[in-house]
């Protein structure tokens, strides 16, 4: 399988560990990632707020790059998935289409609308298939209770994302079970991580993140896992702020989706960039006998 790899901004900078883990997992499963240095940011939902048609045009340019290469496009971020999918849909409006075409045509860019946008979670569960994932497991994550945290834009609006139920999805839990982990079901798994308003009203954003982590914890999760690096920022990099906002210690390791698979496929913590997390993942690794290369839990950055 060959896919146009759209890493998004965060996985190239602060979330580099997501990129490392994605490459490990795709290598293991025989997915060839074709890279394009021409891809731009998807606008992250913020450009959409400022100028909807501009946001569609930026993403039409990205989609055209994959179309020209004849490849489906692989995302590893819920927000990238949402923005690129919405661009495809908004181009169905003739008025939007005309304005976007008028901006792209002078650049020699033509987008016919054929690029399919697929998040890694969807590729793994639909195209690769759970049996093929299972076949690569060398270290089943038995005994590890993981709370999947989906990220909004992968799911909703559900009629536009046209995949899972917008409030009761199961693909991520199915995948976790396939690698031997025990999925934890909790209400917060489909709610927001707070990230979109981290820069608007930090206290509210952190309260939202804190509540979802508390919810996962109350349902017995040893760790959480997310298919979205923006959720990861809220849940991991800002977890100390979430603790302050909800007035409770959380100590919740948060994995990127491909890190969970990588562990089950036998990767070392270094190969998955696990030492880059702000909340140590050592306690979760100890549960599955993966060692504690990221140091003891007392080394937590608070």
């Amino acid at each position: 399988m060959r896919l146009a790899y759209y890493p998004g901004c965060v996985a190239q900078t602060s979330g580099k560990e997501l990129d490392l883990a994605t490459r490990y997992v795709c290598r293991t499963l025989g997915i060839e990632l074709v890279e394009f240095p021409t891809f731009s940011c998807c606008g992250s939902g913020f450009v959409d707020e400022a100028n909807e048609v501009l946001n569609v045009a930026i993403n039409a340019r990205n989609l055209a790059i994959a179309e020209k290469a004849g490849l489906d496009l692989l995302t590893i971020c819920s927000t990238c998935q949402g923005m690129l999918t919405l661009a495809n849909l908004r181009l169905g409006d003739p008025a939007v289409r005309a304005r976007v075409d008028a901006a792209l045509k002078p650049l020699g860019i033509e987008y016919r609308g054929s690029t399919r946008v697929k998040h890694l979670l969807r590729v793994l569960t639909e195209d690769v298939g759970l049996d093929a994932v299972r076949a690569k497991v060398r270290r089943p994550l038995a005994g590890l209770k993981v709370g999947a945290f989906y990220g909004c834009h992968l799911l909703r609006p559900a009629d536009e994302m046209a995949w899972e139920d917008g409030e009761e999805p199961h693909a991520f839990e199915d995948l976790l079970a396939a690698v031997g982990a025990s999925p934890v079901y909790y209400r917060g798994r489909v709610l927001c991580c707070g990230f979109p308003i981290q820069f608007v009203k930090a206290g509210t954003a952190s309260r939202i993140a804190g509540r979802q982590i508390q919810d996962a914890k109350a349902h017995g999760a040893d760790a959480m896992a997310t298919p979205c690096p923006l959720c990861h920022i809220s849940l991991d990099a800002y977890q100390n702020q979430a603790e302050k906002a909800v007035g409770a210690a959380l100590d919740m390791p948060v994995f990127h989706l491909p890190q969970v698979l990588g562990l089950a496929f036998g990767a070392t913590p270094e190969e998955l960039g696990l030492s880059r997390h702000l909340v140590p993942v050592g306690p979760a690794l100890a549960k599955v006998g993966s060692g504690t290369a990221t140091g003891p839990s007392s080394a937590k950055t608070a």
């Binding site: 021409t38 400022a50 930026i58 834009h153 909703r156 209400r187 979109p196 820069f199 509210t204 939202i208």
Partner: protein
């Protein structure tokens, strides 16, 4: 049990603050057709099993908006949620009152927080004196003008969106999806003279607290799509007032940020949103992150073809005109 019925197990939230120390869940099991609406089942429970169950309803036809509640954690109208799919998915039907509004008894909530936010947006026409309402009949609108409302006039004020909204749950200042969708309806109304004033006044502790999680759009029984109208309001708010709030500064800053290199320059964005002085307040957290993730502090390499982005911006995002 005949083939055409299902043994439906209801776990219903029961709470009377005057008598109960805490809420409890009561199990009722009924054999019903899978097409039975949850509301019909609850009314049968009340008529045949337990007359003390309190709930609010009226039309039973998804018109009045009275019977919104949580059904297996989703905020929905009980009159149009059928028991078959719920039983198939969950093996039981957990019925709870709406969220974000205090419980009066059982499934009945005090909707005051919801209506308070509705009042905040002044949900009535503030007429343009140049186009006074003719005596005895409303000002006619063209079909094109009516289309600008999109789906917002369909709203039945059931509060399902308000119940489903995580921003309302975390911050009582957020107006909630319904009030903002209503606001949109007045902002695009050609007869209203207060468009700009409305867009200015809704911004502090309002518009920009929307998480764009789209849970309101999932919950809405009338497909009003509040989250999409809130997006429209944000773009209109920037058009009338520029980037004056954290939220609008972040959106406009992000737009400018990625035009420079094609990818996000994270450190620069923090400065764009908070300003150089405000940046100082972020330093503590920033340093913690940079220690683990040093790339955050570095300028990213520009993408190949960043000049194409510049041209797209020039075509679709012209510089705003100076002055009011």
């Amino acid at each position: 049990m005949s083939e055409s019925t299902v043994a439906a197990a209801f776990d219903v939230y029961r709470y009377d603050p005057a008598h109960d120390a805490k809420p409890r869940y009561q199990r009722y099991t009924l054999n019903l057709s899978p097409h039975t609406p949850v509301l019909t089942a609850l009314l049968r429970i009340r008529a045949e099993v337990d007359p003390s169950l309190a709930l609010r309803y009226s039309c039973r036809s998804a018109i009045c908006g009275s019977c919104a509640m949580q059904i297996n954690s989703k905020s929905r109208l009980a009159c149009e949620t059928h028991i078959g799919p719920e039983m198939a998915r969950h093996g039981r039907i957990v019925v709870e009152p709406m969220r974000n509004q205090p419980v009066l008894r059982d499934l009945v909530v005090d909707q005051a927080p919801f209506w308070r936010q509705y009042d905040r947006i002044e949900p009535h026409l503030r007429l343009d004196p140049a186009h006074p309402m003719p005596e005895g009949r409303p000002t006619p609108m063209t079909p094109e003008e009516v289309d600008r409302f999109k789906e917002t006039p369909r709203c039945i004020a059931c509060a399902a969106c308000f119940s489903a909204c995580p921003a309302v749950e975390a911050d009582p200042e957020f107006p909630g999806p319904m009030a903002l969708a209503k606001l949109y309806r007045f902002v695009v109304d050609p007869r209203d003279r207060a468009h700009q004033d409305r867009l200015v006044r809704i911004q502090p502790n309002g518009l920009w607290l929307c998480l764009r999680c789209h849970l309101c759009t999932e919950a809405c029984p009338k497909d009003v799509r509040p989250s999409e109208r809130i997006r429209d309001l944000k773009e209109m708010a920037i058009a009338v007032q520029g980037a004056t709030e954290n939220g609008s500064r972040h959106a406009v800053g992000f737009k400018e940020n990625i035009s420079e290199r094609g990818v996000l320059n994270e450190m620069r964005l923090v400065r764009q949103t908070y300003g150089t002085v405000g940046l100082v307040g972020q330093l503590g957290q920033g340093l913690k992150i940079v220690r683990k993730k040093p790339e955050v502090a570095r300028k990213p390499h520009p993408i190949e073809g960043v000049d194409e982005l510049e041209k797209i911006y020039a075509a679709l995002d012209p510089e705003p005109k100076e002055g009011p």
